[in-house]
Amino acid sequence: MYKKSPAKAKRGYNAKYTLGIDPKQLYSKQFEATLITWSQIDAPQAGFEALTPYYVAIVELPDGRKVTTQLVDVMSEEDLRVGAKLRPVFRKVYEAGSDGIINYGVKFRLS
């Protein structure tokens, strides 16, 4: 319902699409975030069934801020450890139904 609102997607643009960081800096080779904690979700939130299982995480950015996000391209949970270094990637988060807009966001992968 409300997740289909283009106005809502537009309002969140800066925080979700760039984490409030200049994209040139965000996607530069030097940008590294740190894994604080994570969970592999087997019982998904409604709307995320196709992605299941998926990883959510809290990561620390170089400026000290901590954000909630998803981890992608994880081959095995064994590869993850607290303190692991991560790189941001721009990914689709979900589609709000067939007539809804596609929501994008910044996810992270092991660097």
Partner: protein, 381 residues
């Protein structure tokens, strides 16, 4: 001025397919009124705790709904603070009575969750997290507490087996509580081999989806029916998003609310004879031990390992079965907690009664991943 709990009413908790919001709240409210011995017309106001009647079943405006079903035309309103709604309503009723405006407030907590499927219900519950910055990424409540669990395990070497012991203990208590949703013993092995929900938490680390209602009469009058005096009720809040907390191995709002409540009541953690805590997930009970001062920082899981929180051990916690076994009809939980400690303080917790002369009891009710916390302290009268 003092404030008392004068009547208790509670329905069965569980998958109650034959019941709806109206019948559940009516049963609990009528039971509380009958138990208090007061006339229905002596009720000055109705405070209804409910998280999401609109989202779970299309019904909002619960103040009027319940007043109507009781054929009362008194002031009635709904209180919402996610899973802490029940204790919030008690807090507000206490303030209303202290103010002198009302003498008797009927507080009803109710949730009807089984009319939609589990994923949809999970989405409704996820609305208690930060929608823009957590739920957006598919975060579920189990996964938020799972991330807390991993941080606690990493820092304090707590083990999944320790957490499993919390669920095992609460199921043991659930067997002894006729109102509980799950009246069945479980073992550490069954907890560890249960289906994955959000690693490292499995199904038996999680409280269930439940239907149920609970009600109490908060009153200015001490009567022969008074169960307890409400000696302190403190609310504290913290960041809505877990990631905004400096330290995610503790719930800072619980610590501050508990410290304020202990100070207000003039007691310390060691004076609490019995407590009901918000074990929405097994790790949450471990954090409660630490944040309430029952265990040192980083040693909550050792209390579980010791078995110290069984009803017949040195530090009884969740004699009702907790959220895990008694069930968690979200906004009814805080009221149920108050009912359980009232039964304990008056020696009426049949089959699971804590021995000795119990003076003080505490309830710990948490909303979200620790964004709202309400600590209520009750005293024997």
């Amino acid at each position: 001025m003092k404030v008392y709990i004068n009547g208790l009413g509670i329905t069965q908790f569980g998958d109650l397919w034959g019941e709806d919001l109206r019948t559940l709240s009516e049963k609990a409210a009528n039971a509380a009124i009958a138990d208090s011995g007061i006339d229905k017309t002596d009720i000055d106001a109705i405070y209804v705790a409910n998280m999401a009647g609109g989202e779970f079943g299309g019904q909002a405006h619960l103040g009027a709904l319940i007043a109507d079903s009781l054929k009362l035309k008194v002031p009635a309103l709904r209180v919402e603070g996610a899973c802490a709604s029940g204790s919030l309503a008690i807090n507000l009723a206490r303030i209303a009575v202290l103010s002198g405006v009302y003498k008797n407030v009927l507080v009803v907590g109710v949730e009807k969750m089984s009319d939609i499927n589990a994923n949809e219900a999970g989405k409704v519950l996820a609305s208690a997290a930060d929608e823009e910055r957590e739920s957006f990424y598919g975060v579920t409540f189990p996964s938020l507490y799972a991330m807390i669990t991993r941080a606690h395990m990493h820092r304090y070497q707590s083990k999944r087996e320790d957490l499993a012991l919390v669920s095992v203990k609460n199921h043991h208590h659930g067997v002894l509580n006729p109102k509980a949703q799950f009246r069945k013993e479980i073992s550490v092995e069954s907890v560890l081999s249960a289906p994955d929900v959000a690693s490292p938490l499995g199904l038996f680390d999680c409280s269930p989806l439940s239907d149920g209602a609970a009600a109490v009469i908060i009153s200015a009058n001490k009567t022969a029916k008074s169960y307890a005096e409400v000696v302190a009720s403190e609310i504290a809040t913290s960041s809505l998003a877990l990631s905004d907390r400096e330290d995610i191995t503790t719930l800072d709002c619980v610590k501050s609310a508990a410290n304020k409540a202990y100070t207000f009541a003039g007691i310390s953690a060691d004076d609490i004879a019995v407590a009901e805590v918000h074990d929405c997930f097994s790790i949450a009970e471990v954090l409660a031990y630490e944040d309430l001062g029952f265990a040192k920082r980083g040693e909550g899981h050792l209390l579980a390992r010791e078995g110290a929180t069984y009803y017949n051990a040195r530090r009884p916690v969740n004699t009702s079965g907790g959220l895990k076994a008694c069930g968690h009809p979200v906004a009814a939980t805080g009221i149920k907690q108050a009912i359980e400690v009232c039964l304990q303080l008056t020696g009426k917790a049949e089959g699971r009664q804590v021995e000795g002369k119990l003076q003080y009891a505490l309830t710990h009710n948490v909303g979200g991943s620790g964004a709202t916390s309400v600590i209520n302290i009750f005293k024997h009268v």
